[in-house]
Amino acid sequence: MRDDQVAAAEDAAIDGIDFDGLRLSPAGAEYHLLIGDGEPRSVANDELGAALSAHADYVTNWYYWHAVAPQKADRWAFLRWVEHAGDLDVERRYAAMGDGKFARNWGQLRITVTIDADGERRYGLGHVDDADEPETALDSYDDPLDARTLTKYDDDGHFRPLKTAPTLQTGWQFTDLSGADLVTAVDFFYPATVTNWHRERGTKRSDAPAGRAGAERHASQEGELDVSHWRETMARQTGIYGLIETWDRGEGHEHVEWVAEACCDDSQCLKRREWQYDEETELDAPGGEGEFPCREPCSLVVAAARKWTKLESEESRTYEFDLTPSEKEQIEAIIDAVADGTADEIRDADVYDGANRYRARFLRAKLFDEDGNLSGVETGE
């Protein structure tokens, strides 16, 4: 603990302190001091410094959260969550951080935190799947801006248009970030997740930083997460996306169930979908178990919905194909493999899997005519 930290606490004591088990209130020529679950006692003004120095962890903890950690309410609350500040007292947190034992998962991110003798936290950030990798096996970064590049491609080098898809690349680590830089990096990996998570926790928690400029504005942002459901989101669209609204024909919302099942399932996106068909109509599709919420259909879903709106305006018609039972099942297996993204994993010689490449090529050779029509049946206009 440094002298300036004690001095800062002494200065603040004039207005009283009640934070994480450090309770201090002025009473004439002395202070009332209460630490954790201990006994309250009175301390003379000129002995306050010495009294505080005997409780270094409480002082450095107060100092970190008021003078070092970012004060924007959501960033602050997120860093508090990282070290379980809502559940554990200072002593237990300090012990665990001292041993480097705290780790929190945020989507596919794994966040660790350590602490030094002055209560200064340093954060580590990596991929959950790399948790057991030796540090030397991972590429190290220290600039949070690098997160933008890491989040761009998956492990196969494919572009990730949806930041919260469960395809974050592995093999990297940030080992020594400040609290502010940690939040910046997390916001590049999963933009706006911290702030929306914070809004969602809202009034349930009261651990917002007090007494800072702009606190009023931040206070107004806590509370309910502003969810924008399918109907209002599509009604808001203009330009080429204006037509999506016409997909809602007042004949139920099954189509939106299919969209949510296709796009928002945890296997596709780690946000927990909170938007529904409309305020009154919940979707049956699972919203997911993610830590952070999704408050409205994203641009990828909107773009896909435009395509589906056009496709789904077609009337179905009856085609006749002759298939063996195994061929019917094979077509189902191929659709499953593409939908689950497992087609690449089927081994070349695994002809027992209907979605195997040779099996698919055989089916095509047998059933398609030279124009690519299944069983020679034309699609028609």
Partner: protein
């Protein structure tokens, strides 16, 4: 505290689309002009809907990294940012003259200085010229050279052609190049016939696009006859009908674009004059970015 938000289009398909936005944001971060700088996209994240809540400042300058005034700057961005009381008339623009307006974002109560797009700012003419310098490797380029400024055309947005013509006129008036011509992809005068419009042997062609993508890297090179197949690339300069065509790729990748972003914010009242000087000096002589 003041923050800068750069609002760009982005892409679901093209990983490179966001890169110029990141690069210009980093240039501005490096000079420390704003407490925070954040990129935001229509097609990527953070979305326009959510970007304001990710910045701490009470005062935010929003600069659209778009070429012209139109659908995105007048409808999409203000709507998604939830700028209360926005009315395109507030910009009082003739199609290329929007500067800024100040509004409150209903989502966050932040004061938002909503700026006109980078593409119509006067300093964009300098970036076009610098792009010509970059691609020719000649900081004095002009004498004996023609310059074509290329855009979409009016098909989707009449202001798009206005922005192209605006800069072509300004550069022509400066007298730096022997000839200057505005050309378009989907209307006359068409970029396909580029050599018909110039006497000069050497023609620099600068597309007024924010990012390289399939228009600038596939359509325009093939339309001009630089190559039969964009995948095999092309020479710089390339010989076409007895002219040498110096094709620069999207102007938006030019490092000096960061200056235009800052100029927009400065016009809206941001205190960034020192930063502008610094950015101009660091990006002023940058070489071409490898088109």
């Amino acid at each position: 505290m003041q923050a800068l938000v750069i609002a760009a289009h982005g892409s679901h398909l093209n990983a490179g689309s966001s890169q110029p936005t990141f690069d210009h944001a980093d240039t501005i971060r490096a000079v420390g002009a704003f407490d925070e700088v954040r990129e935001s996209f229509w097609k990527e994240e953070p979305s326009f809907r959510e970007v304001l809540r990710t910045v701490d400042a009470d005062e935010v300058y929003v600069v659209p990294l778009f070429i012209s005034e139109g659908y995105f700057t007048e409808q999409v961005i203000p709507r998604e940012l939830r700028l209360d009381g926005w009315d395109p008339e507030d910009w009082d623009s003739d199609g290329t003259s929007a500067t800024h307006t100040t509004l409150t974002a209903s989502d966050t109560d932040q004061t938002v200085h909503y700026c006109g797009p980078v593409g119509t700012h006067d300093s964009m003419s300098d970036v076009i010229v610098q792009r010509a310098e970059s691609v020719t490797g000649d900081t004095d380029v002009g004498d004996g050279f023609g310059l074509a400024v290329v855009g979409h055309g009016t098909e989707r947005n009449e202001n798009s052609a206005k922005a192209i013509e605006y800069h072509a006129d300004r550069i022509r008036e400066s007298g730096r190049f022997d000839e200057v011509q505005a050309l378009f992809m989907d209307e006359d005068p068409e970029v396909d016939d580029v050599t018909d419009f110039f006497e000069s042997d050497d023609i620099v062609v600068v597309p007024l696009f924010v990012a390289d993508g399939f228009h600038t890297q596939e359509d325009i090179p093939e339309d001009m006859g630089l190559t039969d197949d964009y995948r095999t690339g092309w020479e710089t300069p390339a010989e076409v009908d007895g002219h040498r065509i110096w094709y620069s790729g999207a102007v938006g990748t030019e490092p000096l674009m960061a200056d235009v972003v800052l100029e927009r914010a400065a016009d809206a009242g941001a205190d960034v004059d020192a930063a502008i000087d610094e950015v101009r000096s660091t990006t002023g002589g940058s070489p071409a970015s490898g088109d």
